[in-house]
Amino acid sequence: MAVDVREAARAQGPGRPRREITTAFVVSRIAVLAVAAAILLYAVPPLIAAGSWVPLGVLAAASAAIAYLYLTRRFVAAKYLIPGTVFLLAFQVFPVVYTVTTAFTNFGDGHRGDKAAAVEAIQTGSVRQAPGSPEYTMTAALRGEELVFLLVDPATKQVSLGSAEGLSRLDGARLGATGKVLSAPGVSVLTAPQAAARGQEISALAVPTAGGLIKANGLSRAVEGKATLVYDAACDCVRGNGDTWTADESQGYFVNARGEHLAQGWQVNVGLDNFLRVLTNPTISGYFAGVLGWNLVFALASVLGCFALGMSAALALHHPRMRGTRVYRIVLILPYAMPAFAMLLVWRDMFNRDFGLINQLLGTEIDWLGGTMTARFGVILVNLWLGFPYMFLVTTGALQAIPRELTEAAAIDGATPWRAFRRVTLPLLLVALTPLLISAFAFNFNNYNAIALTTEGGPFPADSPQVGGTDLLITYTFRLAFGAGGAQFGFAAAISVFIFAIVAVISAVAFRRSRKQEEIYA
């Protein structure tokens, strides 16, 4: 790649006229510093308060790098790339990278936190009322912002304050007729509706005692209970109920001798298991080829159909003597202006067998979305309607950039209009529009909305309810990953990596081919 003249001149330095320091120069530098300082002033205190040192370090390093970048005269290209890239990194690259890393773990329902959290959840979850222990009258209250229990022993009428730290004696409380606390020093008592609104917090609070835990039972009773399952660090196992569950670090579960596991597990690294599961699981690999085939047909038909229709309309309007082009353009752009998700839902209702518009117009009684072939035709038609105005817009523009002399020259040389289009116009159009076509292909390959809002993947054959006739890989895996079996993020992430690989490979091949074309025609 040749370095252009300007760049070469800059590299030689001395030949360039010395730039004077203008007011704009100074003002812009001050503005950059002021904005950076304002962001830091806003962002730093909460991070310090929360003790999040790693994000604080990242923030400091990023601010320093950005301040340096805009104060120095070097790295001109980076000055223009950084603003967009910062957002790209934070909200697109980071989520994608994080998703890919979860593909190597068992992250999902039952495996959300670390092992300590799992042990805690198992122990508190197994608390049962200890035989003979008192049932306290409980009043929920707030100490500052913290939820606490005011507990009244039914026998002694002694009031204690229970918090997550433990139980302490509380004097000076006033009791009501029902035995609940009306007021107490240092805390504000919650009224019944206020307590009801915090029901989840109340049932989550466990007050540790010498022999177990005090937990709420409803909104006005609390009982002392003992954990029936107890973690023993010595054997790295959980004991209780006459059984022993030993930690299995490869599964992220506590497992007993019979191979059963406790419901609560923790997140562990599972290596390539998720990827192997995609390849070897018969329910998945059995349908994979069929779904992939239809997925390719759907994406290709959507892109090529939209392109063909949009381009034909643009070509028809592209004539010096054509009248009414402004009005036609507005009408053709209308489908694109309508909110896509709403129109998908409207189309779904238009295909309805009983009161749908399509059957009314055609005088038929076809259950469009009920049969595989008609449903496939339907979703492609809907996608064509949604997508062709975009292709119409971009080809309209691209056509006007093709010098009219070229097609005229072809006509003078005796080419038929079709040949002139095929040999001159279309190749020039493709050079310009290939990146857009490829990105449209990638978009449609993963077009979740187009399926989820119309057929939801259906129709489903009676004998295999897992996969429907119009399921794309993405809707199919969405159901697999988040459906009846609970959320399995790690597994879903592995499937996304596969989908990404497929789309990227197809796009790369298309790109190489278009590059060759560009060398020929451009």
Binding site: G84, F91, I474
Partner: protein, 279 residues
């Protein structure tokens, strides 16, 4: 004769484009306001659905409308600027990783987004705790999130356009002692208004109908955008009864977009012109 054929073809495409919209219009002015009673041609005309929509207590439609237009305008303007900066660098400067950077922009868009939503949810759970002003249910948080998509296929479009603006122009300006910033603002920007208009329209439309992210992000009825709010309108068993209101809302949602298109149309035709093809 050939002209007539062109008109016939375009009219056919127009009919295809318009008939579902006609159905929506018919549903919007249908006095019954239900899906089952709607035909292609209106059986009666009333503005009852629009009135219901604007006075509804359950659905703060005016608020949603304001949220959507505000988010779409601000985010497309900001995204335009960020994208233009990047396109300028990609088109005019030579640096290591230029080609890779351009390709990476396309590749990132190919990753299935729905899983990234899990991560985005986790990021913003943290952000909501630290900086409530940019957290869930806020316009500013959603704006930040949308700016993550500022660099993408639009950057390619702009770069293609910039490649057609003769380099001699900025070389001449450099000779006269202009800095790169002066070239960008005084030489390049006035020349690229057409492609700015096109990408502005694309970004505006994209943001107006964005649903997946907004649905996770906005839970509070007052903070919803049109896409999220309207989806809730015909969710579950409201589907039939609220269809007239939903159709009116759909039409009203299209108004700002058509407005932006009419406003930008004079730039667009010449804008796409050079936009895509290298001269």
């Amino acid at each position: 004769m050939k002209m007539a054929l062109r008109h016939v073809f375009v009219l056919l495409v127009c009919a295809f484009a318009v008939f579902p919209i006609l159905f929506v219009v018919s549903a919007a002015i249908n006095p019954m306001g239900t899906l089952a009673s709607t035909d292609l041609l209106p059986t009666g005309a009333s503005l009852g659905n629009v009135a219901d929509l604007l006075t509804s207590d359950t659905y703060p439609f005016a608020r949603w409308f304001f949220n959507s237009v505000f988010i779409a305008l601000v985010s497309s303007f900001a995204a335009l600027l960020l994208s233009m900066f990047a396109a300028y660098a990609f088109s005019r400067m030579r640096f290591a990783g230029r080609r890779v950077g351009m390709l990476a922009l396309l590749l990132i868009q190919m990753f299935p987004q729905f899983l990234a939503i899990v991560t985005i949810f986790m990021i913003f759970t943290e952000v909501t705790e630290l900086y409530p002003a940019f957290g869930f249910n806020t316009v500013w948080g959603l704006l930040l999130l949308y700016l993550g998509g500022a660099l993408g296929v639009n950057t390619w479009l702009m770069k293609g356009f910039l490649d057609t603006v003769p380099k001699e122009l900025d070389e001449a300006a450099t000779m006269d002692g202009a800095t790169h910033a002066q070239i960008f603002w005084r030489v390049i920007m006035p020349l690229v208004t057409p492609i700015l208009a096109v990408t502005a329209l694309l970004a505006f439309i994209g943001t107006m109908s964005e649903f997946l992210m907004a649905n996770v992000f906005l839970r509070d009825p007052e903070s919803k955008t049109l896409a999220v709010g309207m989806y809730g309108m015909i969710a579950g068993d409201h589907r039939n009864a609220n269809f007239g209101m939903f159709a009116s809302a759909t039409l009203i949602t299209a108004i700002p977009t058509v407005g932006v298109f009419l406003w930008l149309q004079k730039y667009i035709v010449s804008g796409l012109t050079a936009g895509a093809v290298k001269g």
